[in-house]
């Protein structure tokens, strides 16, 4: 059980490193390639099936110049062969035109397979942003 928690935290961490690195090959390894896997990017419609999910990452990576995503409040629940990892995503992103800050709430689901935990769902939704001024330390 403790092993499952560690494994799931590790997979979640690897997912955000792949995202930050704009690394499609790492996504290939992290995700299950089933036709029913799902992805909801913040404020977007659901994407179903690995080929479509992969294409969405490819498009995001193609239009992103620089991305930092720091997961906080990471919460792991093991439900038999399914691992639910919930977290807040603290996002700083730059594309060609500008830089944006955002916070999203994520539910990440992983399925236990002979090859280890594989991602089967990423659902992220916009969260009310609480920005802290670096000078005053207050909101």
């Amino acid at each position: 059980m403790a092993e499952d928690h560690t494994g799931l935290r590790d997979m979640n961490e690897r997912f955000y490193r792949a995202l930050e690195s704009l690394d499609l090959e790492a996504m290939d390894v992290l995700w299950s390639h089933e036709r029913w896997v799902r992805c909801v990017h913040p404020g977007s419609d659901a994407i179903v099936g690995w080929q479509e999910v992969r294409r969405s990452w490819q498009e995001i990576f193609a239009t992103t110049r620089w991305l930092r995503v720091t997961p906080t409040a990471v919460d792991v629940t093991v439900l038999g062969g399914v691992g639910m990892v919930a977290c807040s995503e603290n996002i700083t992103a730059a594309n060609e035109d500008d830089v944006g800050l955002a916070v999203a709430q994520a539910t990440n689901l992983f399925q236990r397979t002979p090859a280890g935990w594989l991602m089967v769902l990423h659902h992220a939704s916009p969260s009310p942003v609480q920005l802290t001024s670096p000078e005053t330390g207050s909101a």
Copy 2:
């Protein structure tokens, strides 16, 4: 397997009927009362634990006069003891002041228990709304 799919569709349907009916007692029966169950309402932070989740429904019901939620594109996946039901929520809501239309993408998770499938996650996020004019049938 077919039984699981039918049971999960039924639970998902019951969840939306409870929501439309602003029926907290029905939510009590549908949801698992574990301390780790989670709920993300559209555009909001995550709520963790049944008592907090229940309170959030209570607050929504107290400030809602009238609510219709029609789930479409319902997609059921059974992963051992976990049922993932994804759908689009087509929402019409009225509070004291006005009426709003919205579409949300939902991931609903249910856990298999001796008492049947119980809800353990509701994650809903705002979706781009495509409103169709009833006169022209076009967007």
